[in-house]
Amino acid sequence: MFIYITKRLLWVIPTILTVLLLLFSLSYLLPGDPADIILGPRATPEMAAELESRLGLDNPWYQSYLIYLQNIIKGDLGTSIFRDRSVLKVILDVLPYTVILTLAGMGLAVFNGISIGLLAANYNNSYFEKFLTMLSFITASTPTYIAGVLLIVVFSVNFNLLPSIGIGDGGLLDSIHHLIGPALALSVGWTGYIARLTRSSMLETLDQEFIQTEKSFGIPRYYILYKYALKKAIKPIIAVIGLGIGRLLGGAVFVEVIFNRPGLGRLIVDSVNERDLPLVRGGVLVAALLFVVANLIADISYAYFDPRIKQK
């Protein structure tokens, strides 16, 4: 078990290094000269050269990469060009909102998806199951931005139940109240997907011989379903949750824009539009780190659900 976790942890290092290299090469691949963008059309060549040396753009690329790595290890992600503040601070300001939104969205998707999937597996081949299947397909194929707008139209405009924009006044209840709509919008697509996956994984498991054995020894149906079958069936769902966190970060951009919430997704989109390179790099790096951490947790939790992994 210890070796398994260590191995997973060590794999994080090359992953992050690759991400860093890609982010670093952005400055060479992006069209437009940073100095031009920052200084505007009236800059003299001397001003541009001065800025380039201040930003370290005149060094050879490998030297710049090493400096970039050094700075990151020190926790220095550079300074935002337009905000004139430390990138790390800018990101840390909005990060909690995105993390909470993503976790809430995923939590809703997992809870609703697994519930619907379990019901569908339990009532397989009935009209109820057909209804649930339809529901799963509808939710799975609804894009986040449509779900978000629909939620606002129905619950904010028509019924006046949920706030349509913002994050609230900072109080806990108000924050949760403001979170319901965005989290629901974010969860919709994954709910259907997880429901489908749960249903098929459960049906496959229920078809196995050990389920028959358990049945023949007099273990009640609900117990077989929720204890014995679910734990065996949940592995593919965990894998998808790990990947899903990363995808939800992408989906969070729409939700953050539609519901006018601060967040990492929105920050990255804004910084790309502004060509704020240090901020783009920093934002994507943090997003990549979140993605890696989510997958790491998923991998480690595998070992709990499948004891055979512990030995590998």
């Binding site: 028959q212 358990e214 049945k215 020894f217 273990i219 014995y228 065996k232 004891p307 055979r308």
Partner: protein
């Protein structure tokens, strides 16, 4: 007359397939005395496992009992509700051991957890799992698992095939059932392990006085174990007799052919096989199901269904040759 533990009358089972019902079992009549080991023998596809699962209600939803009844200890168990059946029969009066031990235990739960749950529901949730652990360890010791306390906390993949089958037997006998349905419990095992498991099984039967319906395709295994043998072919029982009697005086041509398929190391002649194969469910021939493969078949075999008739004391066979 000794009391019958199981009595099956004119049972027929059907599967739904594309809107049609296909008969997989027909005219099954079978009795089992208490403490008796009855072997159910036949090729794959003959319906022997289906019969075992029918008794324990383990068939998929697409199957139904079309005709007949199953009496267990004098009570018609076909009419029990699903809940009553689970509370009163499964794990209380009957249990089942299946063919492939690799698949018989849930891979993601500790062996001990799985045993304790069987005991817990056997006790109708009256005892705590802590109290039950002693019983569980005791029975693991009885089925020959060394260091049961330690093995208790291990997962199925840490057990060998034979060990898993021992655990299965422990779980089956833990509930002290009156009837055990053993569906080819040794087929997937090595010969030496098979012998050990069979040995263990007969010891357990002696100790617990359990009746067994032993499903197998291997007449060799069955010969040393069973009191009586029922031979199945294409969803019907074609012959039932005491083990000795069946080996000495096989009556039905199918039984005779099966016995000829048994390899005998003393004989040098080539091994015999039965030509053709078991007919498909949706394509049973008219008349006797075996007639296309039977070397004795004559006109009547193609038109009428033979029924089981007593041809000697306690020896039943379904063949028209006996009427000639």
């Amino acid at each position: 007359m000794p009391d019958k533990i199981l009595k099956i009358n004119d049972l027929a089972v059907e599967y739904r397939n594309k809107g049609k019902y296909l008969r997989v079992l027909q005219d099954i009549n079978l009795e089992l005395d208490s403490g008796e080991i009855l072997a159910l023998v036949g090729e794959s596809g003959s319906g022997k496992s289906t019969l075992g699962k029918t008794i324990l209600r383990l068939l998929p939803d697409s199957a139904r009992i079309a005709e007949g009844s199953i009496f267990f200890k004098g009570k018609d168990i076909c009419n029990l509700s699903e809940k009553d059946f689970n509370d009163q029969i499964r794990g209380q009066e009957m249990a089942m051991v299946i063919q492939n031990p690799q698949n018989a235990l849930n891979p993601v739960f500790k062996v001990g957890t799985q045993i304790l749950d069987v005991l817990y529901f056997k006790s109708k949730k009256q005892k705590s799992r802590k109290e039950l652990k002693k019983e569980a360890v005791e029975i693991l010791k009885k089925v020959g698992i060394s260091d049961p306390e330690y093995r208790f906390g291990e997962y199925p993949h840490q057990f060998s095939g034979g060990m898993k089958q021992r655990v299965m037997l422990a779980m089956a006998f833990i509930s002290n059932p009156s009837l055990l349905i053993a569906d080819e419990p040794t087929t997937a095992l090595d010969l030496t392990v098979e012998a050990q498991i069979l040995n263990l099984l007969s010891n357990l039967v002696d100790e617990y006085k359990t009746s067994i319906l032993y499903i197998s395709h291997d007449l060799g295994v069955v010969a040393g174990l069973s009191d009586r043998i029922a031979v199945m072919y294409a969803g019907r029982i074609v012959e039932v007799a005491q083990t000795r009697e069946l080996f000495d005086h096989p009556n039905h041509p199918y039984t005779e052919a099966l016995l000829k398929c048994l390899p005998d190391y003393q004989k040098t002649e080539e091994l015999q096989t039965i030509p053709g194969q078991v007919p498909d469910l949706d394509n049973y021939p008219p008349g006797c199901n075996f007639h296309p493969r039977c070397s004795y078949s004559f006109g009547r075999c193609r038109q009428e269904d033979p029924r089981l008739e007593e041809i000697a004391s306690e020896h039943f066979s379904a063949c028209f040759l006996n009427d000639r």
